[in-house]
């Protein structure tokens, strides 16, 4: 049990082709979103730099939803992630 991070098609080269990654949350059953992304980075380092820059900040046009809410509308990378939470990484409506 833990949280599940869902990845967009565009980033699956950097996740070894997998579409979702289960992240255990430890004994407390909760972890800040930044910690979940840190755990993701240990498994898939190249994926990590697509999502955050070298200072750990979310890239401007990458959105990370915690269940149904984009994390910037919550507490950003401090948003608590609990057991069963679905974290979705999605390119924002931008670019081109």
């Amino acid at each position: 049990m833990g949280a599940t991070v869902f990845l967009p098609q565009a980033l699956r080269t950097d996740s070894g082709g997998v579409a979702k990654v289960d992240i255990p949350l430890g004994d407390g059953g909760t972890m800040p979103l930044g910690g979940v992304l840190d755990e993701l980075a240990t498994r898939h380092p190249r994926l990590a730099r697509r999502i955050r820059d070298e200072q750990g900040r979310l890239r401007r046009y990458v959105n990370v939803f915690v269940d149904s809410d984009e994390c910037r509308t919550l507490s950003g990378l401090d948003t608590p992630v609990t057991e069963g939470t679905e974290v979705r990484v999605l390119p924002s409506v931008a670019g081109g």
Partner: protein, 366 residues
């Protein structure tokens, strides 16, 4: 002997190959990674290692950030370093935005990357990993360096160049927007502005110590430096001694690109732009200007270019030479047209057209 022209655009990387430099086979956009997103990235810098023919491409995805890719088979396949190739140190509180230029040292494996924001990075493994040149980042002037309209960037790096007299292994000269020209004579431990005589029309002083908006630096066959400024075209044999204007005879002293002839010391190509307010070619005609006397006089060398009005310009790294014995010159425009002049006839021939905006070109004999 064949020739390879690498073309970085706003929407991916293209290559053109030719046996005779008249007929070109264009390929692209290249798949840098197996998924689609990387193939539409802007490629703002390309470099071809003179020692190994490795191609470096500095990319920027609007969603997923910048990176560096490399090809050891002339563009057929591409790799990306496992670790972030360029990253600002944690105490800088700064994030790498994009590479503006790769520059290769005479020592094999040593590559410089001038980046945005205002960083100079050095690689010793052929461009796969880089360390910041800390003394330039820590320079007390840095807080006064502003972003130009295109960004706060070190866009020109000239390894081993300090004066026209020779190639000093301990020297590097860089150009930045804005900030001007700086150089080191002690392997990057200290940096000095060398901008005497260069104008800065957007600052209160006519010729400040630093703060100029340099658009392009180039070194000629005899080591003389040429400079295209944000208004102003200059020359010097020693940047520390000061720069001399050579803009008389050009239809505009504004522009971005500048290319020196690899064999003839006084020969330089210039690509004028109307002004800082109007980024269009003078008279709305795509024209190239050439001097053969170090800027004493300029003439249009535009045979073969479109006769009709043209509303696109050549960006700072979108012109180059292949350095061949009979050198070819190449440039691309923001309208996606690429031209080559390859036989000293001064006639331009189309390489390809209708690409996305051309940001940079590099050519080499392979």
């Amino acid at each position: 002997m064949a020739f390879l022209l690498v073309i970085g655009t706003r929407k991916g990387l293209f290559t053109a190959r030719s046996e005779d430099r008249r007929h070109w086979e264009v390929d692209g956009p290249h798949r840098l990674d197996p998924e689609d997103y990387a193939n539409m990235m802007g490629v703002y810098a390309v470099g071809i290692d003179p020692h190994t023919r490795r191609i470096l491409a500095g990319s920027e995805s609007s969603h997923f950030g910048p990176s560096v890719w490399f090809s050891d088979d002339l563009g057929a396949t591409w790799s990306e370093p496992g670790e972030p190739p360029i990253a600002f140190p944690p105490d800088s509180d700064t994030s790498f935005a994009r590479v503006w230029q790769f520059a290769f040292d005479d020592e094999p494996g040593v590559v410089y990357a001038g980046v945005e924001p205002h960083g100079l990075f050095r690689s010793t493994d052929g461009g796969e990993s880089y360390e910041i040149v800390r003394a330039l980042w820590d320079h007390p002037h840095r807080t006064d360096w502003w972003p130009g309209a295109g960004g706060a960037a070190i866009h020109t790096v000239l390894p081993r160049r300090a004066t026209a007299d020779g190639k000093d292994p301990h020297a590097v000269t860089v150009g930045m927007s804005t900030g001007g020209v700086y150089r080191t004579l002690d392997d990057g431990a200290s940096w000095t502005p060398v901008n005497k005589g260069i104008g800065a029309v957007f600052l209160p002083e006519d010729s400040p110590e630093y703060g100029q908006c340099v658009h392009k630096l180039a070194v000629a066959a005899d080591g003389t430096f040429y400079l295209q400024n944000h208004h102003g075209v200059y020359r010097t044999a020693d940047p520390a001694a000061g720069w001399t204007s050579i803009a008389d005879g050009l239809p505009s002293d504004f522009g971005f690109a500048l290319v020196t002839h690899p064999r003839l010391p006084g020969t330089v190509l210039n690509f004028p732009v109307i002004s800082q307010e109007v980024h269009l070619p003078p008279d709305y005609r795509l024209r190239v200007y050439r001097t053969d006397d170090g800027g004493g006089s300029w003439r249009s060398v535009s045979r073969g270019l479109p006769a009709e009005p043209y509303y696109s310009i050549v960006l700072r790294d979108a012109a180059c030479t292949d350095g061949a014995d009979v050198p070819g010159f190449y440039f691309g425009t923001r309208a996606g047209d690429v031209y080559a002049a390859t036989d000293e006839s001064e006639e331009w021939r189309p390489v390809t057209s209708h690409l996305p905006d051309v940001l940079c070109v590099r050519a080499v004999e392979v």
